[in-house]
Every structure is written in structure tokens, then in C-alpha cells.
């Protein structure tokens, strides 16, 4: 062990929510100049620990020492002023303000009390450049994708001269390139002696960047380990309390039993969104979409669900031309769409788990035909079990669930509709290793049962593992359609993306 005194020392932290013990006697020691990973399943208490540390929630018990002095922050602002800069799991920026304002809010360069816009824009652009990002900093943040918003949140955190940087799942919607860029910045900070507390469900990332890790299980500390001394298998076993070996075994995908063409898009496109593309989806087929951030994957999904209007092209379902103008129409054709931004486009945080799960089904029936209570309870119970939603309480408000569990609720909403085409946009975002394998298996099972799936993920391995064919996008254009045979690897995919489809 190094002899350096910890910059951050949490001892005996406890935190209760009504009916839930989120943290129980948790210790955490973070040394200066180290990247410390906080590991655990969905709902293990990682975000809660971070919120207790940074003054969002008061702790019920325990002490926090920052640089040897006891502290107790009443608000995130106090924590920030003491040198702890945080990116929370749910990006909480102001969508209506510009990118520059979001990065510098509260720290605007001023002269005689008036904001100086030019230096402000310049400083914001510099911050983004450090993350290799070139954005119009005067545009409203809402215009950008979730991944970019995540990067902006990181840029905002880096604005502060922090001694401790806390990143709660900063990479959940980033792709490889951006993650690399972020890691470069993190290594830089680390060399300057900044301590970084890092949460991620991507084990590869953790092994790449973290020096040590603390594992939480069900709100208790399982132990802390130098990354080098704990293998992946052991790590998983410690996180979930059993072996994952059986989960990782997803058999080779059998070829799709292509009974027939379900949906055919012909030169479908949207000006300013995605260039005209043609795509055939067969029954029982999993079609993966790969591409970088902003390449148009989400746009393809939104057009097929009628979330956006197509400006050209046509779609046929079962050979009959259809006009997918609204989500309702798409739903009558048994298309379902699980959007990537669960906070903005998916969940109603103030409603319960049950209400959120039955929402789409109830909307399809109309308000005059309420779903009987027993049937609701049955459906919800089934998916709470199938997806291991925790706490397993249908009447819990969704806003009180951990990020990964919220994602599962959203997934459940669309699964109960038993669609013919299920569009999943980053369905495993923020989901832990165990549940991720579970969801992948579910997708495989559903497609074996005849459901077609359009699967979008920034994680190429996942796309490859599940898909029968992969559509590759670049610059808002579908540039290639590759059958997923033995020759298709992540390298081939990356090359296709990089070369723009010309091989």
C-alpha cells in the first residue's frame, strides 16, 4: 500500500430511504492521484454514496474526511467549493440554455457584474476542445444528443479546479473514441494529483483506467482491491454474490428463421436528420445498427416508429404500404420503441413503476378501457421478476429507482406490448453485467420466438453478439449492410465505419 494519506475517507456511512436501506456502514478511501472505481450491481448504492458525499442527501450516520478534516456538505455547491466536482448519473443541465452557459453557469466571466459573452464562449470552447469536441457553443443544449450532453456535463465538471472529481457513469452513452478522449483527460488530471471516483458498468473500462476499486453489494461494502489483484470473474462474483459463468454463455445465434419480410423501408429519409435509406427487416431477425455518435442510428429508429416525420420514401409492412406518421400508428402495426434518453423521452418520474410499465398498453386501449388491476399486477410482477427490478415494489416512484432499474422499467413497458418489431435504442445503457446478459438473452429468446428486433448499441460486441445482420451508419447515412457471419468482427465494423463503406 502506498503511504499517501487519503484525500477522501468515508467511514461507517449509512443511508435509509423509506423502506429501503441504500447504504449500510460503508467505508471508502480514495488516495490522491488515483482513479478509484466504485463497483456494484444496479441499486447497490453507488449513486447514493456519491450523493451523500456531495451533499445532495444528508447521511444518516458516518463521517466524511476530506484531506483529513471532517466535512458535511449541505449542498452540492458547498461540496464543489470545497474541491469536489461531480458529474451525476442523470445529466442535470439546463436544456434551454446554450452549451457555453451550461458549462460556465455560476462561474461566468464578469466585468462590472455583467457577463462577458465572448470570453465565456471562448472558455467553453476550450474546455470542449480538451475533450476533442467541436460544438457550436451558442446552440441550446437540447439540440444535442444524450452523448454530447454527457460530454458537456463532464466539461462543466472539469471547469472547476477540483481535488476530487466524481464521475457517476460518465461513459454510459459514449462510444469508444469519446471514452478514450475522456480517459486521456482523466490520466492527465491524475498526474496532477487529482483523485477520481469513477462508476461504470463496463468492466473493460474499469480495468483500463482504475487503480483500485471498492465493491458495494446491496448497500454494504464488499471490500476494496487494487485492480491488478482482482480478476474480472472474481469481481463479478463479488458484485453479484454468485458466478456469472452461466450468464456469459449465450449460445451461438442460430440463423434467423426468416419466415417472411416484416418491414421494408424504401428510400426513407428526413431532411436534416438522415439521408434516404433502404432496409429490410424479417420476422425473427435481429438487425443491429452500428455507427459513431451522431451517425444517425437514433434517427433511423425514430422514423420507423413515427416519432419524427419522414420527408421522403415509403414503408411497407407485410407487403402493404403504410404511413408511419405518429407513434400511435406505429403501435397499431405492433412496432415498439424503447428510446435511449430515458429521462427526457421515456419515463414519467413521478409515477410508480406499475403506472410506467402499463402506460403504453393503457394508451393503446384508450382511457375508457382501463386495464384491470389484477392484470396490471400480474404483468408488472412478471417483468419485475424477469428483469430483476429492485426494489421489487410496483408502487415505488420511478424517480426513486437507481438508474439501471429505471432503464429496466422502460424496457418492461415495451415488452408487455408483445410487439412484432421491437426497436431498442441503447437498451442496456447503465445496466449492470448480470442484468445485461439477462436482457441479451431475452432479446435472443424473443427473436427466436419470431419477434423482429432493431438493436442499437454503442457497444459493438453487444451488437455483434445479438444481430443477424448489421447496418453501419456514418454521417447520417446508411453506408453498409453486413450479414453477421463468422468473418464479421468488431474490427471489421470499425474499419467499415472509418472507411465510409468503401472497402
Amino acid at each position: 500500500m502506498t503511504s499517501a494519506a487519503p484525500i477522501l475517507q468515508l467511514t461507517g456511512i449509512g443511508k435509509q430511504f423509506p423502506g429501503v436501506t441504500a447504504l449500510d456502514d460503508v467505508d471508502l478511501r480514495v488516495l490522491p492521484g488515483e482513479v478509484h472505481a466504485l463497483m456494484g450491481e444496479n441499486g447497490a448504492g453507488k449513486s447514493t454514496l456519491i450523493k451523500v458525499l456531495t451533499g445532495v442527501h444528508p447521511a444518516d450516520s458516518g463521517t466524511i474526511l476530506l484531506d483529513g478534516r471532517e466535512v458535511s456538505f449541505a449542498s452540492p455547491l458547498e461540496a464543489q467549493n470545497a474541491g469536489i466536482s461531480t458529474v451525476y448519473q442523470e445529466v442535470n443541465l439546463c436544456p434551454n440554455l446554450s452549451v457555453a452557459e451550461n458549462i460556465l453557469l455560476g462561474r461566468e466571466p464578469r466585468r462590472f457584474g455583467r457577463i462577458q459573452w465572448k470570453p465565456m464562449r471562448r472558455r467553453a470552447a476550450e474546455r470542449l476542445a480538451a475533450l476533442d469536441l467541436d460544438l457550436d457553443v451558442t446552440a441550446p443544449l437540447s439540440q444535442y444528443s444524450l452523448a454530447i450532453q454527457q460530454m458537456v456535463a463532464i466539461a462543466r465538471a472539469l471547469e472547476v479546479q477540483a481535488r476530487v472529481l466524481v464521475l457517476d457513469e460518465p461513459t454510459s452513452s459514449l462510444d469508444t473514441g469519446e471514452v478514450e478522449q475522456l480517459f486521456k483527460v482523466m490520466r492527465n488530471l491524475k498526474d496532477q494529483g487529482v483523485a477520481i471516483l469513477f462508476v461504470s458498468h463496463f468492466l473493460d473500462q474499469v480495468y483500463e483506467i482504475a487503480d483500485r476499486m471498492t465493491i458495494l453489494r446491496n448497500g454494504r461494502r464488499e471490500g476494496d482491491y487494487p485492480t491488478g489483484e482482482l480478476g474480472q470473474v472474481e469481481l463479478i462474483a463479488k458484485m453479484i454474490g454468485r458466478d456469472l459463468a452461466e450468464l456469459e454463455r449465450l449460445e451461438e445465434r442460430p440463423p434467423a428463421r426468416t419466415t417472411g419480410t416484416l418491414l421494408q423501408a424504401d428510400q426513407l429519409g428526413r431532411t436534416g436528420g438522415i439521408e434516404p435509406f433502404s432496409l429490410t427487416i424479417r420476422e425473427g431477425e435481429v438487425v443491429g445498427l452500428a455507427g459513431l455518435l451522431g451517425s444517425g442510428r437514433t434517427e433511423v429508429a425514430r422514423l420507423l416508429f413515427g416519432a419524427d416525420h419522414a420527408t421522403g420514401g415509403s414503408v411497407t409492412i407485410d407487403g402493404t404500404p403504410v404511413s408511419l406518421r405518429t407513434p400511435q400508428i406505429a403501435m397499431t402495426h405492433k412496432i415498439a420503441f424503447c428510446p435511449e434518453d430515458r429521462k427526457a423521452d421515456g419515463l414519467i418520474p413521478d409515477l410508480t413503476v406499475r403506472e410506467n410499465v402499463v402506460l403504453a398498453l393503457q394508451a393503446r386501449r384508450g382511457w375508457t378501457r382501463p386495464l384491470p388491476r389484477e392484470q396490471q399486477a400480474q404483468l408488472v410482477d412478471r417483468y419485475i421478476k424477469a428483469l430483476k427490478i429492485s426494489p421489487a415494489d410496483p408502487e415505488q416512484l420511478v424517480r426513486n429507482l437507481s438508474g439501471g432499474n429505471q432503464q429496466k422499467v422502460l424496457l418492461a413497458r415495451w415488452l408487455i406490448l408483445e410487439p412484432r418489431l421491437l426497436i431498442l435504442d441503447e437498451p442496456t445503457r447503465g445496466i449492470d453485467v448480470g442484468a445485461k446478459a439477462e436482457i441479451q438473452r431475452l432479446v435472443a429468446e424473443l427473436s427466436d420466438g419470431g419477434m423482429a428486433v432493431l438493436f442499437i448499441s454503442a457497444e459493438l460486441e453487444e451488437v455483434l453478439r445479438l444481430s443477424h445482420k448489421v447496418g453501419v451508419l456514418r454521417d447520417r447515412k446508411l453506408i453498409a449492410e453486413l450479414p453477421n457471419d463468422d468473418t464479421l468482427t468488431t474490427e471489421v465494423l470499425m474499419q467499415t465505419i472509418a472507411s465510409g463503406g468503401r472497402s
Binding site: 423509506p18 445532495v56 427526457a344 421515456g346 382501463p370 424517480r399
Partner: protein
Amino acid sequence: MNRRLLWPAVVLALLLLLNLFFTPGFLSIEVKDGHFYGSLIDILRFGAPLVLVSLGMTLVIATGGIDLSVGSVVAISGALACLAISQGTGVLAAVALAVAVALVLGAFNGFLVAVIGIQPIVATLILMVAGRGLAQLITDGQIITVTDAGFKVIGGGYLFMLPFGILLALVVLAATVFLTRRLALGLLIESVGGNAEASRLAGLRSRGILITVYAFAALCAGIAGVMVASNVSSADGNNAGLWIELDAILAVVIGGTLLTGGRFSLGGTVLGALVIQTLTTTIYSIGVPPETTLLFKALVVAAVCLLQSAAFRARAFPRRERPVTQPVQDTTEVAR
């Protein structure tokens, strides 16, 4: 759920006690001429129109909107009913006409908000202003007086020993509860109010829901208008329902429904409306000088709103709670 009803209930109880202190027999109810009689009954009876309007307002506010036009709709519907009766139309037909017109006006509001996409506060301001004029046109600037005994029953008569207005309000309350909680209207309203874009992507027809809700609010206002006109046996296009929209909004807020939309509480709204009505009664019964009545009312309302706020309670009565000042997600329910 019940915690939210706690504070308005406490304030209501305090107001009643205050009255009891000034008027010893305040809480007693007797039977006179074969029906119940007493101050509490009066509060319920005079409060019935406000309860009606507030019920409709609750649903509108739950969608994240607001309806400023309900006061004008009260005036229009009262005027229409009285005009029709004074010209010899039967009471039922006159009332049906008034309520049907109110429904159409509400649908118009809903159309402006849901289809044209005008901000609710602006969209309903149109009818708020124009509607007063319309009501005066109907009454020709006069006060129309009607002497029909059947019409008088609605706002001034009795059934099962209780004022008819109270029963009518109860029926509308029951219908609202049925529509929103037994049927699924409530879920869809709370969903649209909680996150409109997410609701659209879950396949909700938010347009239809919005139009329904505004139409329902106007329907409630229409019934209230008939009740008010019947109670005074006349229609006054100028003053009927004046400022009732503000009382209704207050009632909803006091009842614990947030102006930002989402979760709503019908029980809370009824309590809120009763608080306001009791307050009005109190002002008269304890003899607050007329020039300070509005100030007195404002103080009580401010007190209730402060008590509703978890952050304020934590600061005023510090236990182990801590107010949440930073707008970080997931923290609104923390202090308790």
C-alpha cells in the same frame, strides 16, 4: 398521499376553531323546516360552485396547463340559462343549453392549446376577456331576473334534507373520481403533465386528452354558473363568477397539486376549496374590516402554501430534516 392532505386539513380545522371562538354555535347543525341548517351547511352550499370549478381546474393543472376562462364561462352559462328561461324555455332544456355551450367553449380552449399550440395561459386568456363581453351581450348589459321555481331548486332548493347544490357538487365529484381513478383518464393526464414528450412516445393521444380536460373544466364551470344564477334567481354578466378562476387555482394549489403538472389530488382540491370558502365566511363572521379582507385572505393563503413546502417546514421546524436547495434530480422527496 395522505401527508399531502394533512396541511390543508389542519388549516381548515384551525379556521373552523377560530370561528367557533367568535361565534359559539358555529359548528352546530340543526334541523329546521325539514332540512339541515347551520354555518357548516352554508359553507358547503356557498362553496359548491367553487368546488365544481376547482375540480375541473385540477385536471387542467395536472396536464401542466391552466384555465383562466372559467369565470367567464360561469357568467355565460348563467346568462344563457336565465335568458332561455325568461323567453319561456323549459328549465331542463335551458340548463342543457347552457351546459352544452360551456362544453363547446371548453373544447375551443382545448383546441387552441392542443392543436394550435398556444400557451394555456394565453389561450384561455382569450376566452376570459372575450367571454365576459359575450355574457354581457347575452344579458344585453342588464341583469336578467327569473322567477321559475324549478330553476330555483338547483342553487337554492333541498333534496334529502340537504341543499341541492351540495348534492350536485358531490355527484360531479363522484363522476370525476370515477373518470380519473376507475377509468384510466387520471393516469394519462398525470403522464402528459409529468412528461409530455415521453407520453407522446408511449403512444398517448395527448391532443385528445387535453381537449377532453379543457372541455371538462368548462363543463364544471357551466354547471357552477347555472348554480350561481339559480341561487340568486338572476344572471349578472358582469359579476357572476368574477375572479373565481383565481380562487379555483388557489384551491388546487392548497390541495397539493403542483402547478407544474403531474400528480393531482381531487381530495386535496375539495379541501382547498373548502378552506377558501371558510376563509370568506370567516372574514364576514369575525368582522374583519372590509378594506383589509383581501389582505387577510392573502396572509392565510400564504401561510398554507408555506406549510405545504417541505423546504420551508424543515427550516421553520428543524428536526433532522434538511432543505434541498440545489436543483439536483431525485431530491425533491428527500426532506421528510
